[in-house]
């Protein structure tokens, strides 16, 4: 204990652990970062990360905290400028563990080209936190005239998902529950701001309005269903999804079948759902597929005028069912 007290130990943690990890040592030590924004409007977001375990196949809580906040900015079409990082450490957390997570965070930020520019650390007593909690805030710039948002979705829109769904949630469950699925499913955690930039560029480069991309949402907690239902509710449109078109990898389908979970409700951390004007969906889809994080992109359904706010899925048998968000976490079934 002592690292959160604001004294010499705190300074050491910042000097020796965080600054090297985030690649910003040597600058003046200040209470806030100052950023140049250029033209456009500011996008601001914050998210807290409490995932357990801290390390899981393909990622850590650290890179998740970087990518997740970048993706929240990307959903408004913003180009991310910088992140902040707040750490709440439970007394007894090993410095090596914290170091590895900070390094992973630094690498994720460097890969994304979005620096962590300021931060904060607090230590709480044993039992006051679950090892480590991270909060990241992100700031970005939305170009003038761009108005992507859930309220912009309209009947006729094609609904695109950027690739395989369910991988992050299954990766977490496989370690949390100690279940061996035979193969390792790794998290899909990835920053999506470049994917969104490519989607918008596919329109502007042809002299088209980037606002033909109507709505974007990263289907994190609650999965694909929550993302689509929330957009449908906000915009007051109905949605019809085609069950056969939704990319569910076999490993995810098996794991979910085994646990009695619905892959459509399992979390993703590197996927984007887009509602796009049908006249431009082919161009946007091609742009998504040209990038590695969108290589598996597919049109999975469309927005309709009927049943506003409700999402209906068409099964391979030609029948339909309503899909709805879970109340809380999905509960594994008894049998």
């Amino acid at each position: 204990m002592g690292h959160g007290g604001g004294g010499i130990l705190s300074e050491e943690l910042i000097e020796n652990l965080f600054l090297p990890a985030f690649g910003s040592s040597g600058g003046p030590s200040r209470d806030s970062a100052v950023l140049d924004t250029g033209a456009g409007r500011i996008a601001l977001t914050t998210d807290s990360y409490v995932v357990n375990p801290l390390f899981f196949p393909g990622g850590t809580i650290g890179d998740l905290a970087v990518n997740g906040t970048i993706n929240d900015l990307a959903c408004s079409g913003a180009q991310p400028l910088a992140l902040t990082a707040g750490f709440i450490l439970e007394e007894g957390l090993e410095v090596d563990v914290l170091g590895a997570i900070a390094q992973a965070m630094g690498r994720a930020a460097a890969d994304a080209g979005v620096p962590v520019v300021t931060g904060d650390t607090k230590v709480v007593g044993r039992g006051g936190a679950d090892g480590l909690f991270i909060n990241t805030a992100g700031v970005g710039v939305v170009p003038d005239g761009l108005r992507i948002g859930p309220e912009q979705a309209r009947p006729g829109d094609h609904i695109i998902v950027s690739g395989n769904i369910g991988e992050h949630g299954v990766a977490i469950m496989s370690v949390r529950e100690g279940i061996d699925f035979g193969t390792t499913v790794t998290t899909d955690s990835a920053p999506l701001h470049r994917l969104v930039a490519a989607m918008l560029a596919s329109l502007t480069e042809r002299g088209e309005d980037p606002n033909h991309v109507h709505a974007l949402r990263d289907p994190t907690r609650g999965g694909l269903v929550a993302a689509v239902v929330e957009i449908a509710r906000t915009a007051g449109v109905g949605v019809e999804l085609d069950e056969r078109a939704i990319p569910v990898p076999e490993t995810v389908a098996s794991a979910c079948g085994f646990l009695g979970l619905d892959p459509l409700q399992v979390a993703n951390e590197g996927k984007m759902v887009a509602f796009v004007d049908p006249a431009h969906s082919a161009a946007v889809l091609a742009a998504m597929r040209s990038r590695p994080e969108g290589a598996g992109a597919a049109i999975i359904g469309r927005a309709v005028e009927e049943h506003p706010g409700m999402v209906v899925i068409r099964t391979p048998f030609g029948t339909t069912r309503v899909v709805e968000r879970e109340l809380g976490e999905q509960l594994p079934r008894i049998c």
Partner: protein, 375 residues
């Protein structure tokens, strides 16, 4: 996925649907016994495919749904104790007791854990010798072998801090109760495939004989269900009630002999109240006296706790096939997954929850009418 995709083939499904429709000269009323079958029927819209030819009545085979209220209250009582780690399958946590659910106990600081196997609970007991570890042993014949195994395992390990709150129920007595009811509408059964994987099929022949109904052991994938229905309809049209096995890749006549031996050793048949239905004689399992040391009801002295069901909840009629979920006055208004009056609205296998989740587009329109008529 191999062994699954073959049973989800839309072309083969279409052929089966057409065959059933050609065979059926009148609408037949068929009960699928198991909640897993109900879930699959509604999720895949099998009921929509067969509309007019077959009416499904959703049976009582959802373990969460039929676990009696007093048993939930006993679980809550035990789980609230400071010296207890209470382990349960996930979908029991949201089932309302007479005042609250296990989630509320956990929120107040109770140590309530979701496990995937009862053997996880024995491991937790071995790791926490200063705590009493209690596993909530619910379910039909399907979950019973693993639960029996955990008791045997605990005995082998010499664990004195492990016990089980047992609320096991049995399928054949419930089918007997349904068929004996003067209001019974069921003309044929899809028997629960995985129950028969454990127990075999011998218990069902006497039901066919006594009540003259066809019973076809059926699996859970769309083609399994359609094949089961096809055979029931064929038998109904021919007027020749028989016991058949349409799930031979998982079910043999003798069942799982090792599992049955463990069950016969660990459990003893007992009278058991079913939530919404009432007492059914000889319809459940309790721990046999040999294993009384592992009986949480005795350890914690909660056996006498009894309570009353809500008057608003018609889950009993739903479970007996007398009422469709959306015909219940409370469906979708007083009773939703957020505020469930009965367990059938809680479990994803429960008929009410399945209707609420998947059928509101068609069922939703009917709900307000029923509500207006009923309230």
């Amino acid at each position: 996925m191999k062994y699954l995709d073959e049973f989800r083939d839309p072309v083969a499904a279409k052929a089966l649907v057409e065959q059933i429709r050609r065979t059926a000269t009148q609408p037949w009323t068929i009960m699928e016994v198991c909640g897993g079958q109900t879930h699959s029927i509604i999720r895949n819209g099998i009921d929509q495919l067969l509309e007019g030819a077959v009416e499904f009545i959703h049976g009582p085979g959802c373990p969460v749904c039929v676990t009696p209220l007093e048993m939930i209250d006993r679980a809550l009582e035990i789980a609230g104790r400071e010296d207890v780690i209470f382990c349960s399958f996930g979908d029991m946590l949201r089932v309302p007791g007479s005042r609250e659910d296990l989630f509320s106990v956990r929120a107040r600081g109770g140590d309530v854990r979701v496990v995937y196997s009862p053997l996880d609970a024995t491991r937790i007991a071995a790791d926490n010798p200063d705590k009493q570890v209690v596993f909530f042993g619910v379910g039909f014949e399907t979950t019973a072998p693993a639960n029996a195994m955990s008791v045997l395992h605990a005995q082998r390990l010499g664990l004195t801090n492990f016990s089980m709150l047992v609320s096991h129920v049995l399928v054949p007595p419930a089918m007997t109760a349904i068929l004996s009811s003067p209001t019974n509408r069921v003309q044929g059964f899809l028997a629960a495939g995985h129950v028969c994987t454990v127990m075999g099929t011998s218990e069902y022949g006497p039901l066919v004989e006594k009540f003259g109904v066809p019973i076809v052991v059926t699996g859970f994938e769309p083609l399994d269900l359609l094949e089961g229905v096809r055979q029931v309809v064929e038998l109904l049209e021919a007027g020749t009630p028989e016991l058949r096995n349409a799930y031979p890749r998982a079910v043999t006549a003798g069942g799982n002999v090792v599992a049955r031996e463990a069950l016969a050793d660990v459990f003893a048949v007992t009278d058991r109240p079913w939530r919404g239905i009432g007492m059914i004689p000889q319809s459940g399992w309790t721990l046999s006296p040999r294993y009384a040391d592992f009986d949480a009801e005795l350890t914690f002295g909660v056996g006498q706790l009894t309570v009353q069901e809500s008057d608003l909840c018609h889950a009993g009629e739903v479970l007996q096939g007398l009422l469709k979920p959306n015909e219940c006055p409370a469906f979708g208004n007083a009773c939703t997954p957020r505020t469930p009056l009965g367990a059938t609205m809680v479990s994803s296998e429960g008929a009410c929850a399945a209707y609420y989740q998947f059928r509101r587009l068609s069922a939703g329109a009917a709900a307000p009418t029923s509500a207006a008529a009923g309230v």
